[in-house]
């Protein structure tokens, strides 16, 4: 029999103003589903004194005002919420296509990743762009989507020494994850290519191109297409 959400839920104090909720101990679609449902429920029925939420693969960090709330009291309230999440309905996942110019200056690690796995750069591109990725959550920096669904054959460790600056739009892989850097930051992911489209758009109502639960596909484009999309 499937365990209910309450059975596998664990609470952990993270600071004097935050509480972590874990759903199980692994990255699973089931845990992801619970993270999304809890977020949605907390959006629809906010708890007074809760100030922020940091979702992740199998956990949610709940930040609260310590003048208004106590860990134990908040845990009781959250347990009641979690008891109801099976009834929360989620919107249909959206399909989002992200154009990527692979290799060259845009994907400086493409050849190395091929070499690690005994593949040609073309094979790496074909594999990376064949998968449909799931947005597990947005985190790290504004609009950064943690994508699951990297083909097993492409699972690669991070760079031993992170780059000081990864350009915005870079598409990278790390372990069994893939992701797109929305802004230029330091980073240790291996870069396969770059997208010319904006990932985080502070001037739009929908700030982030990608949302939790979206299905993402990368479409290879040429440097010429990259240039024309970048101008658009």
């Amino acid at each position: 029999m499937l365990k209910s959400a309450a059975d596998t839920t664990r609470f952990q104090r993270a600071s004097d103003q935050s509480l972590l909720i874990y759903f199980g101990q692994q990255i699973t679609l089931d845990a992801h589903d619970r993270v999304r449902k809890l977020l949605r429920l907390l959006e629809m029925e906010p708890i007074a004194g809760v100030r922020n939420l940091h979702p992740a693969y199998h956990s949610v960090l709940v930040k609260f005002d310590p003048l208004q709330r106590h860990h134990d009291e908040l845990e009781d309230i959250l347990r009641r919420y979690i008891g109801r999440i099976e009834n929360v309905s989620l919107p249909e996942p959206r399909d989002v296509e992200v154009p990527v110019c692979y290799g060259g200056e845009y994907g400086p690690d493409l050849n190395d990743v091929g070499a690690i796995h005994g593949m040609s750069p073309e094979q790496v591109i074909a594999l990376h762009s064949s998968s449909i990725y799931l947005v597990y959550f947005l985190g790290f920096v504004p609009g950064f989507a943690y994508l699951g669904g990297l083909p097993e054959a492409l699972v690669t460790p991070r760079l031993a020494t992170p780059r000081r600056r990864v350009p915005a739009g870079s598409v990278g892989i790390a372990g069994n994850q893939s992701g797109v850097y929305p802004v230029a930051t330091p980073g240790g992911w291996r870069l396969l290519g770059r997208t010319p489209i904006a990932i985080f758009r502070p001037d739009r109502d929908e700030l982030s191109l990608l949302s939790i639960g979206d299905r993402v596909r990368f479409t290879p484009i040429s440097p010429a297409q990259f240039a024309s999309l970048e101008r658009a």
Partner: protein, 313 residues
């Protein structure tokens, strides 16, 4: 409308308020003043709502003029400010007449000094806040640190105003600390007893690579027993995460919202403002307190900040 003209910006001067909470699901951290208590005090001194936007200066202040005049207060660390060359008191409201020049020097104590003006600084808000998020180039004045020649708008004054200064008692209680009080981190049990002992006995030094995202420390490395590989999860401000080499990074106001390193401890809410005053090469220690103490210290601090004892005439 009144203005501030930036004649020289200083080392790193940004527009900050108390930050934007609630956008963690988008990966957006709050940002806001690195020493929010100093920002709140400065705003109180000039009769602003305590979260009004002000200028945060880092290590070396800027030079500013006020074509229409202004009422201002400087708080935080002592940056040796002068008005037309004459030394100026901090932690009190000062009236500046049109044409006078405020020069804020280099620090004589901690990392940051705040310039609050009556009426507050007006910029286009991003997600409800004026604070600059430097890493992502969002918020504040065009998402960046100030440059020579920038002009900032001062808003209309809202509250009535009486010249006051901070009381000695409040000043003493709100002094930034070098011994940071912490509660256990969510992975503190990943560390051996001897690692934990070493962590709490050790002195750590703030490195030059520290910024508003995080304070990188050097000192005795502590390594989690299991190696520390973990599934990326949400992280709290003040989290003391142990990196691959065993050295701590304290996550700060422009923090990443999620991370994959084990957290050995977390700085208590009442001591977060102290992080904003730490300079490179400062030496710090960690002292563990229990949850009840952490809560009580924060309550007391907020009570003081709301009390009549804070300011006197």
């Amino acid at each position: 409308m009144s203005e501030i003209q930036v004649q020289s910006p200083g080392l790193l001067t940004t527009v900050q308020d108390l930050g934007r909470e609630g956008f963690g699901p988008l990966g957006v951290s709050p940002s806001g003043a690195a020493d929010p208590i100093s920002l709140r005090l400065g705003n109180r001194l000039v009769g602003n709502p305590q979260g009004s936007a002000a200028l945060e200066m880092t290590l070396l202040g800027g030079t500013f003029s006020f074509p229409q005049g202004a009422i201002l207060a400087l708080t935080g660390s002592d940056f040796g400010p002068t008005l037309d060359g004459a030394p100026l008191d901090q932690f009190t409201a000062v009236e500046v007449t049109p044409g006078q020049t405020l020069r804020v020097g280099s620090t004589r104590s901690g990392a940051r000094c705040y310039l609050c003006v009556r009426g507050g600084i007006i910029v286009k808000p991003f997600l409800g806040s004026a604070s600059t998020h430097l890493l992502s180039g969002l918020g504040g004045y065009h998402g960046r640190a100030l440059r020579k020649g920038d002009t900032l708008q001062i808003g209309p004054a809202v509250n009535s105003f009486q010249k006051k200064t901070i009381t000695a008692r409040a000043s003493e209680q709100l002094t930034p600390r070098k011994v940071l009080r912490v509660t256990p981190g969510p992975q503190s049990d990943w560390f051996s007893k001897s690692s934990l002992q070493a962590f709490y006995a050790g002195t750590y030094r703030v490195t030059e690579e520290s910024n508003r995202m995080g304070l990188r420390l050097e000192g005795k490395p502590v390594v989690p027993e299991s190696g520390g590989e973990m599934i990326t999860e949400g992280v709290s401000i003040g989290a003391v995460q142990i990196t691959a080499g065993g050295l701590p990074i304290i996550l700060f106001v422009e923090q990443q919202t999620t991370g994959g390193y084990a957290k050995i401890a977390n700085v208590i809410s009442a001591d977060l403002h102290s992080l904003g005053q730490l300079r490179p090469r400062d030496e710090i220690r960690f002292e563990q307190v229990d949850w009840e103490t952490a809560r009580a210290l924060f309550r007391e601090q907020e009570k003081l900040l709301a009390s009549e004892d804070l300011l006197s005439e």
